[in-house]
Symmetry: C2
Subunit: 266 residues, 2 copies
């Protein structure tokens, strides 16, 4: 999920604390608002026989799928969070079978296989923190909502069995701050980078900005321009479009919180 959902009610946890609580089964909420300044990541797990295709897909579509880390088959502990275990240290997971959501669960040890390859993919939380520091307001955060996301008519570059539409997130930005917003996010190539488009939703096949495909609608005020960034929901929608026989992802808004600091992505 590339969205920053409503800030969690719990007091902010460090990355280690949050992962430990997930492992104990005592944290199941959104990860937004925790471990401020740490990189959070989308998770995608596929069988080894599909891993090369998915890795090529990411390489061909770096804006929606910027790779933070790829783990070797059967390896559950990423280098970006030593001592962690991606099978238990996220608040919630989704298991997909034959292109359909089969189950939501808090621990995937029961599904683990030695041939599973895990991908950690950058998330917009990193650039949203940078936007706020640079004085660019973000309406969905002000309103405590999830960012608006849209399935576009833009097809990703396909790779082997993987194909599907680009998903974008939209943030309304005051016209005079659009250049600043682009400048700041362009620095975070591994967190979706610069926007994919500014100001023309119809060219992306979006009919009504107030009817997002994922997340919540947010109002666009006079003098604001809708700006569109590639979104971390894309790999999940691609797994569905491609009817993947088996994959596991994080649940939306429940990201893997790494020990990397956002500025290390620069």
């Amino acid at each position: 999920m590339s969205a920053r959902p409503a800030v969690a009610a719990d007091p902010p946890l460090s990355a280690r604390e949050l992962r430990a609580r997930c492992r104990q089964g005592t944290f199941r909420g959104h990860t937004s608002g925790h471990a401020f300044g740490n990189v959070q990541a989308n998770l995608m797990i596929v069988p080894q026989e599909a891993a090369f295709d998915f890795l090529v897909f990411c390489q061909r579509n770096p804006k929606p799928c910027p790779l933070i880390e790829v783990l070797e088959a059967g390896v559950p502990s990423p280098q970006c969070a030593p001592g962690s275990d991606i099978r238990s240290d996220l608040p919630s997971y989704r298991v997909y079978r034959d292109g359909k959501l089969a189950q939501e669960t808090n621990d995937i040890h029961a599904f683990w296989r030695e041939d599973l390859v895990s991908f950690l993919i950058g998330c917009s939380f990193s650039f949203e923190e940078a936007l706020l520091r640079a004085g660019v307001p973000l309406r969905h955060i002000e309103l405590g909502r999830t960012v608006s996301m849209y399935r576009t008519k833009v097809e990703c570059q396909s790779a082997g069995r993987f194909h599907g539409p680009l998903v974008v997130s939209m943030r309304p930005i005051p016209a005079s701050l659009v250049p600043k917003a682009i400048e700041v996010t362009a620095r975070f190539a591994r967190a979706h980078g610069a926007p994919v488009q500014v100001g023309a939703p119809e060219q992306l096949g979006i009919r009504d900005l107030q009817q997002p495909d994922y997340g919540d609608p947010v109002p666009i005020e006079l003098g604001e321009i809708p700006v569109f960034w590639a979104c971390g929901v894309t790999p999940q929608s691609v797994a569905l479009a491609s009817k993947s026989p088996f994959c596991i992802t994080h649940a939306p808004g429940r990201m893997f919180v790494t020990d990397l600091r956002s500025d290390q992505l620069l």
Copy 2:
């Protein structure tokens, strides 16, 4: 090869002309000096069973191995040069077996298999053109030599079967132009990007700058600082260190010339 060898004697060719002449067997020289402004690429071809490991290796080592394009198994025609054929459109190739150079050849149709996966990897020609445009002098080009390259004591991040030392290229830069040189090359993340180190060869395990492991020595003048960039020779040296059973690369200095313009790498 991440080197710009002595400029070829032939009159400059366009990318298409150069590839056509390679295919006819009438061009076997260095590609430097041709198709100015076009992206040239290192080539690495490995069997499919090793391709995932190599792709992860590139993802973990983006400075020496910035990916321009990954072709699916058995596909010889890259998107970055429509109509081209990577089996015939380079001036010269090297075939490695069991970690040793087995053969040098001008056409690899005879070696082609449906399970071969081709990787096109960024090359320093792109950033050297940008450095020259920015007024940063490059001694090896002035002298018509190949850039100095060194095997360092820095180990790349390993991935599956692939491991080995980082290879760097060195350019002596006037002290006052070091910031400019870094600023300019940092923009070319897909052509090795910013340097890996400035001014301390001993920390890289380099004993004598005048005895490079590849390429030619170049003099360092008073007031100049040796600046080290990750080098496209790294994947070849890694294939050797990892004793790869079978791989094919371009011959040093004989790159694949794409239709991409360098500024498209930004």
